[in-house]
Every structure is written in structure tokens, then in C-alpha cells.
Subunit: 340 residues, 2 copies
């Protein structure tokens, strides 16, 4: 058993609120004897969700009341200014105050980022947190950042992403020296833009990064690197395009099998066969995007996540806390600033 880790959960966040976050919390508790959880949100609602269950260790669950909830479509600035007692804000505040080692929310991404930046602050030398998430690949998954927090990046930013991504991948996947790929275009006549070429040099010259070279769009799924670095514009487009493409293909398969009684029968036979594939692509297995560069651990779950999926996000936060990802990032970044 390791040191106990406390995770604050924004119990009201996401499309389903406590109906998902509470069972997910209990699921994570049952798997991790060192884990303590603080459920943040409406006391009465959370208690009601907890009362339905008897199969958990109540000494490891605390409820922290918060009177407000950040809406999924609420403007980040409004959430930041107008909802100082929101479940999201209080969960982040607990990390700030040292009462929790990490926090997890399935709420509004923009609000979580704004609150994270305001309450926890970024490390010296980092302007905005970067968003990193795992994307399923042929052989497993790779971590891609930034996924949308920073639309305009210079080489220095990309270099910082490489450092932060390496620390995270190492912590989450137990890889001692993750391979870093830099996303680039492969058209023959022109090889990438200025920032990417400069970033390549910075990564190559750093003595603690395992640089795997340029990777193209298709390489994301070919296990060419453990961490793929790109600006937030490209990363966001690639992530959202990929998610929707998988949804589209699943829909096509469903439609094909749904056409008539014969195809439905074949579909019923094929379902368990294709189940393994769906397992691999299952968002539950990859849920949990981390906001890196903050002085504390903040993990964002998909808003629509179910309990198994949300529990995965909680466990991502747990692993980051066990490895103290922010401290390692801070150390690396300050070494970098000293060197320059």
C-alpha cells in the first residue's frame, strides 16, 4: 500500500451529475484501498445517491457541500466571477488548500480551465495549461497535447508541451522514457512550419527527452510515439474529427446490420465478436484529460461519461497524484528556464 491519496470530485458536473459521479467514486474506492474521496456538491443530493449504496467504506468518503453548479453551456468568465461556491470551484479550491491531492470534474471544459488557472495558477513560465488525453491506437494508446487550450503556439510552447507530456505519460503509463513525436505534415515539397521546425531542434537538444522525430496525422494511430505534441488548434481538430469518425463508423455498422431480419440475425452473431474491438475503442478506457502546467492536478472527464468511464478519470488523477506530476513538471520547467 502506498500513501493515502485524496481526490476531490465535482459531484455535480457532467451531463448526469451524482447519478454517475457517486457510483464512479465508489467504484474507484473499491479498487484502490489508499484512495479517499471528497464528493463536492449539493449535500442532500449526494447523500441521497450514497444512501442507495451500502457496499463502500464510508470512512474514506467525505461530502463537502457547495451551493452552486456551473452549467455545461455557461460562459467561463461568468462561472468564474458569479459562482464562487460552485461544486467545480470548491473541488479545485480543495486542491489549492492541500485538502485534496487532485480534483476531477466532468463539467464545462472552459470553466474548469478558467477556474483552474485562477485558483491554482500555472507554473512560472507557462501561460496557459495544456490539455492532454490518451487516444486509442493500434497497439494501445498515445497521449496527445495540446487538445485545444492554446491555439497559437510558438516553438517554446511546443517544447514545454513535450516536457509536460513526457512527465504525464511516464506517470500514467509507467514508461521510464516516453518517445516524443512532433506532429507535422509530410507533403514532399514543404516540411512543416517554422514553429514546428524550431521546436524539433529544442526537443532534440534537450538531454532528458526521448525524441522520436516528426509524426504525420496517420502516425497518431500507428504507435509511432508515446506522446504526440502539437498546437491546440490542430490537436483539437484531430481529436474531434477522430471521435466523430469512430462514431460514424459504428453507426454505419449498426445501420448495415439493422437493414432487415437477416442482417439483424447476422448482427446478433457478430456483436460479441466485434465487442472486443469496441472495448479497445471504448471512451471509458481512455476517459480523463489532464490540464497540465497548473500547480495542482485537475482532470477533466467527458461530460457524457458513464460511471466506469468517470472512474477511469478518477484513476488517472490518482496516478498523477501518486507520482506528483505537477512537482516533476515544475522541476523540469525551472531547469529549462535556468538553462535559457
Amino acid at each position: 500500500m502506498g500513501d493515502p491519496v485524496t481526490i476531490a470530485i465535482d459531484a455535480m458536473g457532467g451531463d448526469h451529475g451524482p447519478a454517475v459521479t457517486v457510483p464512479a467514486a465508489l467504484l474507484s474506492l473499491s479498487r484502490h484501498p489508499d484512495l479517499h474521496i471528497v464528493l463536492v456538491g449539493d449535500h442532500a443530493v449526494i447523500r441521497r445517491a450514497l444512501f442507495k449504496r451500502h457496499d463502500y467504506d464510508c470512512t474514506r468518503v467525505t461530502v463537502r457541500h457547495a451551493t452552486q453548479v456551473v452549467g455545461m453551456d455557461e460562459k467561463p468568465s461568468a462561472a468564474l466571477r458569479g459562482k464562487k461556491d460552485s461544486s467545480m470551484r470548491v473541488a479545485v479550491q480543495l486542491v489549492r488548500e492541500g485538502q485534496a491531492d487532485a480534483c476531477v470534474s466532468a463539467g464545462n471544459t472552459g470553466a474548469l480551465m478558467a477556474i483552474g488557472r485562477f485558483v491554482l495558477r500555472t507554473f512560472h513560465g507557462i501561460d496557459r495549461p495544456a490539455i492532454i488525453a490518451a487516444i486509442p491506437t493500434r497497439g494501445g494508446h498515445c497521449h496527445v497535447l495540446d487538445l485545444g487550450a492554446n491555439v497559437d503556439c510558438n516553438a517554446e510552447h511546443l517544447f514545454q508541451f513535450a516536457i509536460m507530456g513526457a512527465v504525464l505519460a511516464s506517470a500514467v503509463d509507467d514508461i521510464p522514457n516516453p518517445r516524443i513525436g512532433l506532429l507535422n505534415v509530410g507533403e514532399e515539397e514543404i516540411k512543416g512550419n517554422e514553429q514546428v521546425r524550431l521546436a524539433a531542434r529544442l526537443i532534440q537538444d534537450s538531454h532528458f527527452l526521448n525524441y522520436a522525430g516528426y509524426v504525420e496525422g496517420g502516425d497518431i494511430f500507428r504507435d509511432a510515439a508515446d506522446v504526440i505534441v502539437c498546437d491546440g488548434f490542430v490537436g483539437n481538430i484531430a481529436l474531434k474529427a477522430s471521435e466523430e469518425l469512430v462514431r460514424m463508423l459504428v453507426q454505419f455498422i449498426r445501420d448495415a446490420f439493422g437493414r432487415n431480419w437477416l442482417t439483424r440475425l447476422i448482427g446478433a452473431l457478430a456483436r460479441p465478436v466485434l465487442g472486443s474491438m469496441r472495448g479497445h475503442l471504448d471512451p471509458a478506457r481512455n476517459n480523463g484529460a489532464s490540464l497540465l502546467g497548473l500547480r495542482g492536478i485537475v482532470v477533466k472527464s467527458h461530460g457524457s461519461a458513464g460511471a466506469a468511464s468517470f472512474a477511469h478519470a478518477v484513476e488517472t488523477a490518482l496516478r498523477e497524484a501518486q507520482r506528483d506530476v505537477p512537482s516533476v513538471i515544475s522541476q523540469r520547467i525551472s531547469e529549462l528556464i535556468l538553462h535559457n
Copy 2:
């Protein structure tokens, strides 16, 4: 029957050369009575491929000898300087000289772009040609540009892409007023970068474009627009990621059905059911990327295309020639320059 159209085919280009380009040419001829084809490349090799077939109208096929072939991995600058009698160069030259209305090549993209720019030149006001291709979506397909020719784009470039894309989609798909989407990120706190916001204003203010607003990565597959505009870096990454993701999923399905005799049996039943889906995603149905902004029609086929797929690229060129896409683009662009 319309006016006769002559298309020059780089018969030696692509992974398979005349083994694919010649049957593809004959397939297109059989479907389009107005079509004439000039097969450019090694006389003897092309003749041999033609001799195998008797089922075509030999009055509509010409062979134009060219002594050289551009290699698939050859440097564009080397191809441009050192191979003045390559099948690719001669095919483009025929367009320049008015002996062909369009040309098609499955060869090296960078070399084709360099040769296209050098031989045909871009229209006044356009620095580099943009690459546009159709991507399969839930309801059909959408045209995305730029796919890699221009990695750094300002608002004016994106606006030009919108104009050229609209002309092409209109010609190829017979849509009178195609909806133009501008690819952007949807994170709540920040909405896109400066260039994209400026481009949105330019497109909105133009009286001849049907602006559909910002589209996110996932919208590419949701039929949110007929033409999606983005810089070549983002477009290239999104295209290559999507192509590889489809390949990965197809492989997962194949692996799942291949696991044992029972799954193979179920796979044999499922294959025809899933066939319709594969038809929709089939690259053959979407093969043919166009280089827009040149004073002539140049269509690039996938290097690995089979005959049906290559024939699709030929037919894309045919439709562009019938609608005289370069003239319409030139007219729109000069109106634009006059207005500014």
C-alpha cells in the same frame, strides 16, 4: 452529348503505372462518349497494356511518348530540373499548350505541385495552389481544402480557398451554392485564432459565398458544410489521421473476425452486410484531389489507386473541364482583387 474533352494521363505515375492507368482510362472512355484521352509515357509499355484490350474506341485514345518517369520518392526540385521529358511533366505541358483540357497523375504529389506551378503558373493573386479532396461523411462527402500545400495561411488565403472550393464543389457535385464552413476549435474559453476570425469576416461579407459558419473537427463528418476551409497544416493532419483511423478500424474488424473458426464463419456471413459500408468509405469513390489556383486542371490520384479508383480521378478532371473550373476561379479571384 457535350463538347469533347481531352484528358492527358500520366500513364507511368503511381505505384502500378500502366497496369492501372490504362485500364482506368479505358473504363472512363467507355462511360463518357465525349471523352478523349492522351496516355503519356513509355510508348512501348503503354501499347503493350493497350494490346491486351480490344473493347475500346481506339479513335479516342492517343499515346504520347515520354522518355522519363518521376520516382515516387524523388525530390520535387530534382524532378522539375532533371526530368523535362517525364510523363508527368509532358502531361501537364499538354494542358499548358491547349492540347488537353486537364491532366491526371497518380505520381509524387510534391513533384506534381512543383511541375504544375512551374508549367501552368498560378493565377494572379494566388501564391501556391491549394489541394482539395472529397472526404466521405455520414450523408455523402464534403470537400476539404487546403490539404497540405500551404502550411502557413493568413485570412486572405483562407478566403481564396473558400472561393476556389465553392467553384470546385459546385462543378463536381452540381450544387448551385455550396455551403462553406470554416474549420475552427470549439473550446469554450477561446474561439479560434486570429486568421480564422478574420477569414470568417471576409467570407461573410462576400456576396457570392454561402457561409455556413465555423465547423469543428467532428463536423467534417456531420455534413455541416459542402466545403470545409482550413490551412494546409490542419487539413493534412486531419485527412491523414482520418484515413489511418479508418484503416485501423477495418483492421480491428478483420482481426476480430479472424480469431478462430467460429468468428471466421460469422465474418463470412457479416462480410456482405458490411460491404455496403465499405462501399461508402471506399477511397475509389472519393479518389482525385485537385490542385486549385493553377491556370489549368491538375488532378492527383492516390498513388496506390486501382483502376476503378483512378477512373474516378479521371472523371473528376472531366467534370472540372466541362465546367471550366479554372476560368471561373480566375474570374472570382480577379473580382476579389478589384474589390480590394
